[in-house]
Symmetry: D2
Subunit: 223 residues, 4 copies
């Protein structure tokens, strides 16, 4: 199991837990059809058949728990995938650290210079310094300090890092990968999708192989 993979300049993905594997997918189908098999090659063919013909429910039996650290703007895209459960760090109970995403120079459109990145850093640092000073100024009990944290966080750009736990089944996970590994997805979330994909390939190698063969490599209308 890949314990942890670093992503972007300060983020990561960790696979914390897993329920079921390729074998569980096969068992879920066997309860339907009443057949049995101890032949790994038949199991493999069955999994390929399921994905080729869009039979997704057996893949809902395999569930993963990930721990993710990513910029807020990546988290916003991630949370749009509604099937799955998210627990995020709270900006009310925890003060943000001065940790924000700085884009890699190579990923910028042509024409930008080191001065532009310096201006980006300077503006984010200035916003953070203001946030930090205003939050520190809060007097009174825990509720007043929580109110200060929740109202002044509006200063912080969506490049600031957040963390969350993600519970997701293999079917939804493959749907996430299909959309977020696509060349039209934003570069930054694609880095996370690639890291998740590498962990998924290790965790359920046969399902991933079928997903790559029949879904990832084809361009087709879907709904």
């Amino acid at each position: 199991m890949i314990a942890k993979q670093c992503v972007l300049d300060k983020g990561f993905v960790r696979l914390i837990d897993q329920m079921g594997s390729d074998r569980r997918v096969v068992e879920a189908v066997r309860v339907s059809t009443g057949t049995v098999s101890d032949d790994p090659e038949r199991d493999r063919k069955l999994i390929h058949f399921l994905i080729e013909h869009g039979h997704g429910t057996p893949f809902e039996k395999v569930v993963f728990e990930f721990h993710v650290k990513c910029p807020l703007f990546v988290a916003r895209q991630w949370f749009r995938h509604r099937i799955g459960s998210f627990n995020e760090r709270s900006a009310r109970y925890r003060r943000f650290d001065e940790e924000y995403f700085v884009p890699d120079f190579s990923t910028l459109p042509e024409g930008y210079t080191a001065d532009d990145l310096a201006a980006y850093n300077e503006a984010l640092h200035h916003a953070y310094a203001t946030y930090e000073r205003l939050v520190a100024k809060a007097s009174g009990g825990p509720e007043q300090r929580a109110r200060a944290r929740e109202v002044w966080r509006g200063l912080l750009g969506t490049s600031f890092y957040t963390e969350f736990f993600w519970t997701v089944n293999l079917r939804s996970l493959m749907n996430f990968l299909k959309l977020r590994m696509h060349p039209t997805a934003q570069y930054e979330i694609r880095q996370y999708a690639e890291a998740i994909a590498a962990m998924t390939r290790e965790a359920v190698p046969i399902s991933y192989e079928a997903f790559e063969r029949f879904v990832l490599s084809r361009e087709a209308g879907s709904i």
Copy 2:
């Protein structure tokens, strides 16, 4: 872990797999608030607080896999709980056995006699015999035999037993228990809910204790 519990005259519930436990619920909250604790009593208080105040998402981190055998009319009520994943045996690929639910005499309204139950058994046996004869008569390839099984199963009453796998998180599970352990739920599904509850109590004792204290024992408007 309670491996298997018999329910009704021919049914059962088996807990096949589990991801996470009471501890996982606590960890999911700690990622939000940024606090740590090694004090079991504080963890217990936190779980009670979450349920008392309706904070359900941390309980979505704990996931169970059950194997269930029950009458079709119970499965129909069960599948109305949409959050969770079901894989059921197929009436197209598998022939039904002559296994149907016979109500316990003590659960019938007053006035019914042994003769009434005999008439019930006779009618279901007659329907099954017709189903068996018609399915056996199918000639041709696997597709024709599958068509025969799928069309003639319409003969079989909803008292016939089916089997399915159920993947469900702890939050949805508690919602299922709240509705299906209620005195107004049908007697037969209540027996399944009681069996699931006993397994849940063993698997996540603190969460179950809080559920019993703040949800099961209170009658309140909800949506």
Copy 3:
């Protein structure tokens, strides 16, 4: 609007209400991109582009309400589509009528005769007569009569007709059609899918046209 379409021997589909149309899909996208257009041809191209490239969320803005009458075994397949809301007639509060599905002779595998259908009818009639007699025998208050209805319905085959209301958005509806209009779907549910498709084509002609062109006509791995 097609008010009502008959399906199978005794069933129907009625389109009761609709929120939004092709125009609403376009508006939902325009709020994203901030563009405006009064050119119907550009709107049509936009809708085709969305479906060709799998951008499904704008189609969640269009919602339909259907009233369906179908055999229980069709309803069981229908309810497996979890995104959507179902309200079904209750076998506890309403006595079933003697209305069950009789397969069309032309849809049976070779080798079956009129005598076989007669045996099917006889067994279902016999089960119904037993159900009717046992339900009628219930004495006592409304609760005892409800208990009688809910326990003796186990006699009735899944060919008996039920009714339900279905609230569903256009995205989930297209997913339902894709799976249930497929040649491998059971003949009986395909008849319902065809009826729903005809109503959908009238209600949202451009979306349906794109769905037919990019989804229905292509065979591709999906998840």
Copy 4:
């Protein structure tokens, strides 16, 4: 119908469309129980009974479409309610305007001064000016300009305004109101919940009355 209600300093909520009403809820139940009624007082009692006893599915028949403009940090809380469909303006296709939320002085904890708000405004203006300059500098085709918009938006604080369309059924809407009108919810999202509540009360007066009586006014454990 309340066409539009202003919220916070620059936001709003508009009710764009509605499918079904109190009457539809009643009809959905009548299909279950097979009863009919033309007595408005009986309909009212039925709706109150449903909410008092937690029968939520009939309220899924009523669907609303809202148009919302709110700060990003409010949208982030809103989107955590997964049942419902969101279409948001895209930061890739549309440049952000310099429109950010400024907290009302009366909602701040004690001890803050006009100078603090001035510092808040200054930092956000500075970040916006940097964003504007960097986005304007993008050369090349539409893809390069889209990349510039998506990467530099990380500068903008979560106090910046966004817009989205929200499709939601009455059951999920009441759940949203229960959680977001609660005194422990953040002040800013509570203002939106209050505006939505006023529109809901007008759209479905009987359902809202029952919701207020049995859900809003009671404090009870739930899951």
